[in-house]
Symmetry: C2
Subunit: 353 residues, 2 copies
C-alpha cells in the first residue's frame, strides 16, 4: 500500500480539501506514477456535486493526469522508471469483449472502470483520481507522452483532446473537409487545433462575437455567429461535419441546416435530452447524427503521437491545488481559457509542511 496525499470532496456541497488515502501496492502489471500535473475537467465538478446521482464520497477527481514512472511491477514491459506518462478517463475494462478487442475500451460491454469514482473490478471499492501526488495504474491504461510537449499543456489531451480526436478520426475527417466546431470551451478549443492540423477547413460556430479572434488564433479559418440569422442562412448546406461540444440542453435544429447532404453532426458535450429534433431536416438531405465518448487507449496514444508531431497542447491556466475551489467557480462561469491544470508540486510542498 502507498499512503498518498490528495484533495477530496466529502459531500455534494463541500469544498475540496486535503485527504490522505491508500493506493494499492503494485500488482505485477502496475505502474506507480508520481503525478506532475492534472487537468480540471467539467466532469470533475459534475461528480463532486453529484449531478449524475452516482457519486461515492469521498471522491478524488482528476482524469487528465501527467506524471513520471517511479516504480513498476515485475511484468510491466512497455514502460521504464523515469518515463513521462499519461492517464486518462479509464484505468480498467474487461479487456475481453468485442469492444475492448476493437480497442474501444470506452464502450466495454462490461463497463470500463473510471479513473475516479469507478467501481474497481478487482479490489472492490471506488477508484481515486488525479488530484493526488501519486497513482497506481495497470500499464494497459497508461499512455506515453511525446517528449517535446509542454507537460502541463499535455494534461488536457487525456480527456478534452481524445474526446474531440476520436470523432474526427472515426468520421474520417481529412484535408479539405469543411468542419464546424460548435462551442468554444475546453473541448471546442482542442477540436479547432486538431481539425486544423488534420488539414480541414475549420469554422468556429459560436454565440459569442468576442470569441472570434481567439478562435482564429487557435486555427479556425472562419467564425460563424449562430445568432446571426443571415450568416446562418448563407452557411446552410456548407458543412461536411459538425462537432457539437455544447455541454447542455439546446436546440440543434439550426445547426442541422448547416450540413450538406449526407453530412454528420456529432455530439460530445450534452449528455441529457436536447430540444426536439425536426426529423424532416434529417430526412430531406439524409443528414446524420452521431455521438462519441472519449476514446480508446490505442487511439489515445495515436492522438498523443499526432500532437507530438504537430506540437499541439491545450491552452491552460496553471494553478496550485490550493486554488481548486476557486477554479471550479470560474469553470462554472466559463471563465477559463481553456483549461485549468493543477501543478501537483503545490500538493507535494503542502504535504511536507
Amino acid at each position: 500500500m502507498y499512503n498518498t496525499k490528495a484533495y477530496a470532496a466529502f459531500s455534494a456541497t463541500d469544498s475540496l480539501q486535503p485527504f490522505q488515502l491508500d493506493r494499492r501496492g503494485l500488482r505485477e502489471n502496475d505502474i506507480l506514477i508520481d503525478i506532475l500535473f492534472c487537468g480540471v475537467c467539467h466532469s470533475d465538478i459534475h461528480t463532486v456535486k453529484n449531478d449524475w446521482h452516482a457519486t461515492k464520497y469521498p471522491v478524488v477527481p482528476g482524469h487528465e493526469i501527467i506524471g513520471k514512472v517511479i516504480k513498476k511491477g515485475e511484468k510491466v514491459i512497455h514502460f521504464n522508471i523515469g518515463d513521462i506518462v499519461g492517464v486518462g478517463c479509464m484505468v480498467d475494462s474487461c479487456q475481453n469483449c468485442s469492444s475492448c478487442n476493437d480497442g474501444l475500451e470506452q464502450y466495454c460491454l462490461n463497463g470500463f472502470t473510471g479513473t475516479y469514482n469507478g467501481k474497481d473490478k478487482i479490489s472492490g471499492g471506488y477508484t481515486y483520481g488525479g488530484y493526488s501526488d501519486k497513482i497506481v495504474v495497470q500499464e494497459n491504461f497508461v499512455l506515453k507522452i511525446p517528449k517535446n510537449l509542454d507537460l502541463a499543456g499535455a494534461a488536457p489531451l487525456l480527456c478534452a483532446g481524445i474526446t474531440t480526436w476520436s470523432p474526427l478520426k472515426n468520421w474520417d475527417i481529412k484535408a479539405g473537409d469543411h468542419v464546424g466546431i460548435i462551442g468554444l470551451g475546453g473541448l471546442g478549443h482542442m477540436a479547432i487545433k486538431l481539425a486544423h492540423a488534420m488539414g480541414a477547413k475549420v469554422t468556429m460556430i459560436t454565440t459569442s462575437p468576442q470569441k472570434g479572434e481567439d478562435a482564429k488564433r487557435l486555427g479556425a479559418d472562419n467564425v460563424l455567429l449562430s445568432t446571426d440569422k443571415d450568416a446562418m442562412k448563407s452557411a446552410s448546406m456548407s458543412f461536411d461535419f459538425l462537432l457539437n461540444t455544447i455541454p447542455v440542453k439546446h436546440d440543434a435544429n439550426p445547426y442541422i441546416l448547416l450540413l450538406k447532404t449526407d453530412g454528420t453532426m456529432v455530439f460530445v458535450g450534452a449528455i441529457e435530452p436536447i430540444e426536439p429534433i425536426h426529423m424532416g431536416l434529417l430526412i430531406g438531405k439524409r443528414r446524420h447524427i452521431g455521438a462519441s465518448l472519449i476514446g480508446g487507449i490505442k487511439e489515445t496514444q495515436e492522438m498523443l503521437d499526432f500532437c507530438g508531431t504537430h506540437n499541439i497542447t491545450s491552452d491552460i491556466e496553471l494553478i496550485p491545488i490550493q486554488e481548486i475551489n476557486e477554479a471550479y467557480e470560474r469553470v462554472l462561469k466559463n471563465d477559463v481559457k481553456y483549461r485549468f491544470v493543477i501543478d501537483m508540486n503545490s500538493l507535494k510542498k503542502e504535504s511536507k509542511e
Copy 2:
C-alpha cells in the same frame, strides 16, 4: 396535349372527384404511359388535406404508378411501346448537380420535381399525379418493371418499396445482421420483406400484439412488443440497425437502447419534431441516428430488379377509383393490409359512361 381523366381534390376539405386535365404533348425524351394501377400513399392524403401547407389545388395525387408505354418521343432509347413501366415520387430534377450525378435525385441540390404538386421546371405550373388514366414522363424518371411481378402489387414498390430499400442498402445491411423494423404499416411491411430477402435476421417491433402473426408471415423472425418493458430490456443492445417507420411524433429513446455499440436507427416516417432524444444514450455507445428520403432512380431500378428476382410485391387491397375517399378514411384508421392500390380500369370505364 393529351386531355386525360383523373380524380382531384379542389380544397383541403373536399372529397376527391372526377377531373379533366391536359397533359403536355410528348417532348423528344418523353413517354406517354397508360396507367394500369396506382398505389395510395399516406403522403397523398397529407397533400390533399394540405397538412404540409404547400398544396396547390386542384391536386391529382398518386406516385406509385404502374402502366404501359403507348407512345414515345423520338429520342427515347430505353423504352418501347408495350413495355410495362413504373413512375415513383419524382418526374424531374436538375440532373446536373453532385447529388443527381451520384444517382441521388431525391436530394437534388436544386430540388426534384414531385410527381404531383411539384413545380414543373420547364412548363411552369404544377404536376399532376397518378390517379389518372394517362401520364407523360421523361424517360430518365421511368422504371422498368420485372415481367414476373404482379402489377397491382408492384405499384407500392415505387414509394413504400424504395423508401425502405434505400436505407437498407445505404447502411449496407447484409446476411446475418440483426435488423429491427419499427412500425408495421405500408413502409414496415415492405421493410420486413426486403430485409428478410437480404438475409438479415428481422425483428418486427410493434405496440400491437395482434400484428405479430402477420409480421412472421411477411418474413419477420421475431416480434418484439415495445410495450413489454421486460422484453425491451432483454433486447437492449441486440440490434445492428433499426428502421423507424413510425409516421408521427414519438419517443424514440426506448428504441435507441436496443442498438448495439455503433448501431444506427434510421427514420423514414416522421417528418416532424420528435420527442427529445437523450444524447447520453447515443454518446454512451456511439450510437447513430440517420434518416432517408425515398431513393434515387438508379437504386429504384435496382430495388425493382431485386424484387423481380425474389418475387416481392406489396400486400395490397385493390379498389376502384370510385372508392378512393373511403380508402382514405380507412388509411387514417390504419385499416389496411398494407396498401390500397387503385385499379385504373375503373376510371377508364367511368370515362366511357
